[in-house]
């Protein structure tokens, strides 16, 4: 089990206090707007406010002034980020006086609202990107803030993204395997029984509950054998039932439904 400590009294900035909107720029990296409500958190007025945007290896940082006088920088284009699709935002309030440099409050792993998709703030369970995977068709990457289904960019000429998204003869074969692998990551690899609110692991737990397959309601997940059994016998079947996987696969092949 992963334990989390907070020795310095760092405050958590609730997600509903921060609104980040991505602004698409034709043919270029997106820009962003941010609204940060820090009143009533007991933070010093001169605490420095920063927004950091990051993925696994690339990073940008923006100075937003102080708690009392927020002054967003004029240039907020995400030019240095590796991905134009998969990254997270972090808001930090930093002590400038007493203990210089100490983080006083933080909100991390904030998903941006994407204005070009109608402003929905629905959080994604699975991101999709493409990379050169040589002879592999797909793989999952757990190194980012949400699981990423990576599709082989060498197959883009076949429209592989669209095939996985909407061709049931392919998606119904791939998605249960993706689902299974993600559960293995959460319950057997990470083994974090108390994931942070807003983390992708927590979102997936909520998704499992919505499928009627919340792990806690089924059995004691106290051994890897029990967990494997629960994934195979309860969770994956619940996902396939929810997706009507067999019917959709049949329909894609024959045009008929059971």
């Amino acid at each position: 089990m992963i334990r989390k400590f907070n020795y310095t009294g760092r405050k958590r900035i609730e997600r509903d206090r921060v609104q980040v909107s991505l602004i698409p720029q034709a043919g270029q990296a997106p820009s962003f707007d941010a609204s940060i409500q820090l009143a009533d958190l007991g933070l010093p007025g001169n605490g420095a406010v920063y927004i950091e945007v990051y993925d696994k290896s690339s990073y940008m940082r923006f100075d937003f002034g102080t708690v009392e006088h927020q002054t967003p920088p004029s240039r907020r284009q995400l030019v240095d980020l590796q991905s134009r699709e998969i990254f997270s935002f972090r808001v930090k309030v930093v002590d400038q006086e007493g203990s210089h440099g100490k983080v006083l409050a933080v909100a991390d792993r904030l998903p941006p609202v994407r204005l070009e998709t109608g402003g929905t703030d629905k959080e994604s369970l699975l991101a999709v990107s493409s990379e050169d995977l040589e002879d592999q068709i797909w793989k999952l990457d757990f190194s980012k803030d949400v699981p990423v289904l990576i599709l082989n960019s060498r197959l883009e000429d076949l429209g592989i993204r669209e095939l996985v998204r909407s061709d049931d003869s392919i998606s119904m074969l791939i998605l249960p395997a993706v689902f299974r692998q993600i559960l293995v990551q959460i319950f057997l690899v990470d083994q974090d029984s108390d994931p942070e609110e807003g983390s992708w692991q927590n979102l997936w737990r909520k998704f499992l509950s919505a499928l009627g397959a919340a792990p806690e309601s089924v059995l004691e997940l106290d051994s890897s054998e029990n967990i494997s059994e629960w994934i195979d016998d309860v969770a994956v079947p619940a996902f396939c039932r929810n997706q009507r996987a067999s019917d959709r696969f049949r329909h894609s092949k024959t045009g008929e439904e059971e």
Binding site: R10, A29, Q82, K92, H100, G101, K102, V103
Partner: protein
């Protein structure tokens, strides 16, 4: 002297084929038409004159190339054509023949910049990496710029794989305070073993990642960061 050029798609393909051939026959002659043939490259505007020379260290290469590159407007650190041409122009520095006369180029991304903003590979480009480090840190990045151009070095591998660490002045100052031997103008001996020995480079990276949870290291200078380090690092101060 030669004018700075930018490889086009044909030129990049030609360079890639040459690197591939070199891996099979390590004494393959460098194709001179790759550098100056108009089918493969164009002169960059504004015209920038470059000396044909060999660089002894990454710092020497960065000090020479940085002002030249900064004269170009725009998103220069992501310009695949220019960096790839520079690598071809200074090929004797980035891929010198060994004592046996054989050249070992390594992976393509050491010479041909990866397109897009792929930090994971771009910091490994043997010229773009040092020049960008110099752009972030100036001569203060000496620790990351020591050693020959054709070798990335352990400090670069450990510290530059994450952009937030590579571009953090305070962290690079702290690592310099700990491990830079001013007299020898080289890293202190024994500071970067491959194991996680107490107080050495790999432990430093581990500790920095822990400190990031509590401190905004971008707001701090090297002395302040060094003061936060646990006792295991005291021997290097």
């Amino acid at each position: 002297m030669a004018s700075l050029r930018s490889l086009n798609q044909l030129g990049v393909g030609y360079f890639r084929r040459y690197l591939s051939d070199l891996r099979v026959n390590s004494q393959e002659k460098f194709p001179d038409d790759l550098l100056f043939g108009n089918d493969y490259s164009v002169v960059v505007d504004p015209t920038i004159e470059l000396e044909s020379k060999s660089f002894k260290t990454k710092l020497e290469a960065a000090e020479y190339l940085h002002p030249k590159i900064k004269a170009i407007q725009g998103d220069i650190f992501h310009d695949l054509g220019i960096w790839s041409w520079l690598s071809a122009f200074y090929f004797d520095s980035v891929c010198p023949p060994g004592q046996d006369g054989e050249r070992k180029p390594g992976a393509d991304y050491r010479h041909i910049l990866i397109s897009g903003r792929d930090w994971r590979h771009s910091y490994r480009h043997l010229l773009a990496g040092p020049v960008r480090t110099f752009d972030f840190h100036g001569p203060g990045g000496a620790l990351l710029l020591s050693g020959p151009v054709n070798k990335l070095g352990d400090f670069v591998e450990q510290l530059c794989s994450r952009q937030d660490i590579a571009s953090n002045k305070g962290v690079i100052e702290a690592v310099t305070i700990l491990y830079w031997d001013e007299k020898r103008q080289n890293p202190k001996r024994g500071s970067a073993p491959t194991e996680r020995r107490p107080g050495t480079l790999r432990r430093f990276v581990d500790v920095i990642q822990q400190l990031e949870l509590t401190y905004d290291l971008y707001s701090m200078n090297g002395t302040e960061i060094a003061a936060l380090l646990p006792i295991e690092f005291a021997a290097w101060l």
